[in-house]
Amino acid sequence: MDGVLIPTLVSGLLLGSLYALMASGLSLVWSTLGVFNFAHGALMTLGAYFAWTVSEQLGWGLGAGFVAGIAAAVVGGVLIELLLVRPFYGNRAMLLVTVMTTLAASTIIERSISIIWGPRLKQLPRVIEGQVSIFGAPISSHEAMIILLAPVVLAALWWYTSKTRSGRSLRAVGQNQDSAALVGIDVPRTFSLAFGLSAALAGLTGILLGSIRFVTPGLGADPLTNAMIVVIFGGLGSLGATAGAAYVIGMLEALLILWLGLYWTPSVVFLALIMILIFRPNGLFGRAS
């Protein structure tokens, strides 16, 4: 068991890191606007394709690819907010309507990508080549970097939302829009800010994922389901709970793959989730809203 346990935990850590990056973006938009962005996965894909075009097709290098990919995702995210979310503010059924409009946005983005870039598989280069070993478990340097990067990004996000003025305005708007407007916060701009920031996280995650897996139009759809499971598990409210849940699910998934194999793992994770929800309808770490 010793020989496989540590590599399994390391791969769980990697999964958890990716889920944490995705789910924190979802949670950020949710806690600010009360909107669940179903196009988050499509924004990841968008980021990965733009990064591929700039770094591989144009040959400007991976650094420029990162900038272009994240910028594309941010533009996409802000456009979604302006065109598909903003018109429905204050609508009583806003939650349901925005689920539908963001779902439609995800269809539009994914199908457009498949028309523009075609069906051929693409792959992004790794940020760092080579291998390192963590407690004797061999892992590619790129994956090790993701494991290190995720907590840094999460910490930066935490610092931003709790220590800076504009970050705190996000939370103020999330708690009470009217009071936030009264103390001079530009509420609509804060909404765009939340969407843009969340989309930047999506773009970053998409690019990182695009050098582990092949870049396909469905790149973001599969991890989105897992990020949703994370979000249900942790409750959508706070960054800490979401990140915690991401690592728990990542570890659980890796251990289940070790014990049960790849095939049964998604079903068992989902069954575990159902059992938890029967007893704790607001998620494992969630509080009653």
Binding site: A93, L96, V99, T101
Partner: protein, 327 residues
């Protein structure tokens, strides 16, 4: 649901019953059959999403479960395709019961997330259990329907047309009866004012379980029929594309009306099939349908949004579209 609606629905039924005698080419009949199938899924979805105000986004999973139940029973276990189609309704109902257990107690966005994740999970299971389901390649060459020696493939799909129309009619009649029963009235009560309904002794949790099961039965049966008719089961049925298409039928037709989505399904199926005829529209038609859905949500506040406004979240039936504040 007025007398006028009922009369126009009956008139439409009579026209549809006569169409195969006028339209003889196999392709047009095929489009009608596909439209009837989508219409059955759309009206069933409307029962849970529109009529009961339950944020169910995993409805296509019931359809896919029906497809694969019929495929596995008829092809691998070599049962009669008729039994396999009906069995699709049974397995969907069991799946609905399973998913209803957590959903019964959840609120708002968590209902959306769990039902949506359930649909994606079904797809992952189908993809991973390839020894049963054929994985990403799916299952092909399923047995076709027969009565005695008569094969349904003959006569340009004449018999398939009537089976599809029969399933749709049975689904609509059943759903309308449910909608008009005391149970249907209590569903609307829960949708429009959950607190008041609960205070009047209606169990919201039990309602949700029953409505999910009720909406899954015909969806599973028609899924089974879809698989047997096309003789193919492919994991695509769980995907975003089909889901968005059927959702747009429900929305454009008008949620909570049962008949509206049926008419929208007929119109949209013919529209998207017509688009396939043009070069390069294979992918673009999904974009057009998604854009149409957004336009309906934005531009028809008297139609779709107004109706949606009366769904689960609304505390009263009075909708004020410009009211400030988060729901």
């Amino acid at each position: 649901m007025t007398r006028n609606h009922l009369i126009s629905a009956l008139a439409a039924l009579i026209v549809l019953l006569l169409i195969p005698f006028v339209v003889e080419d196999s392709y047009t009949r095929h489009v009608f059959i596909i439209a009837f199938i989508y219409a059955t899924v759309a009206v069933s979805w409307d029962l849970s999403l529109g009529f009961a105000g339950l944020f169910n986004f995993g409805h296509l999973a019931f359809f896919g479960i029906g497809v694969y139940t019929a495929a596995i029973l008829s092809s691998t276990l070599e049962l009669s395709p008729w039994i396999a189609i009906l069995a699709g309704g049974v397995t969907s109902a069991v799946a609905a019961l399973l998913i209803a257990l957590p959903v019964a107690r959840l609120k708002g966005i968590y209902v959306v997330l769990v039902t949506f994740a359930f649909g994606q999970l079904c797809m992952q299971v189908v993809l991973s259990q390839s020894q049963w389901t054929g994985g990403a390649a799916g299952m092909v060459r399923l047995p076709y329907l027969t009565i005695g020696e008569y094969s349904f493939i003959r006569d340009f799909k004449f018999a398939y047309y009537y089976v599809a129309l029969f399933i749709l009619t049975a689904a609509i009649v059943t759903l309308l009866l449910i909608a008009r029963s005391p149970f249907g009235k209590s569903l609307r009560a829960v949708r429009d004012n959950p607190d008041y309904a609960a205070a009047r002794g209606i169990s919201v949790a039990r309602q949700r379980v029953m409505v999910l099961v009720a909406s899954s039965v015909f969806t599973g049966i028609v899924g089974g029929f879809y698989g047997i008719y096309l003789r193919v089961a492919s994991p695509e049925v769980f995907g975003f594309g089909v889901g968005t298409l059927v959702l747009s039928m429900v929305l454009i037709g008008g949620t909570g009306t049962i008949l509206g989505p049926a008419f929208a399904a007929l119109a949209l199926t013919f529209a998207t099939e017509a688009m396939v005829g043009f070069r390069g529209m294979e992918e673009a038609r999904f974009i057009i349908v998604a854009a149409a859905m957004i336009i309906v949500l934005r531009m028809a506040p008297g139609g779709a949004i107004d109706v949606i406004g009366r769904l689960g979240l609304a505390a009263s039936s009075a909708t004020k579209p410009l009211e400030k504040g988060k729901t």
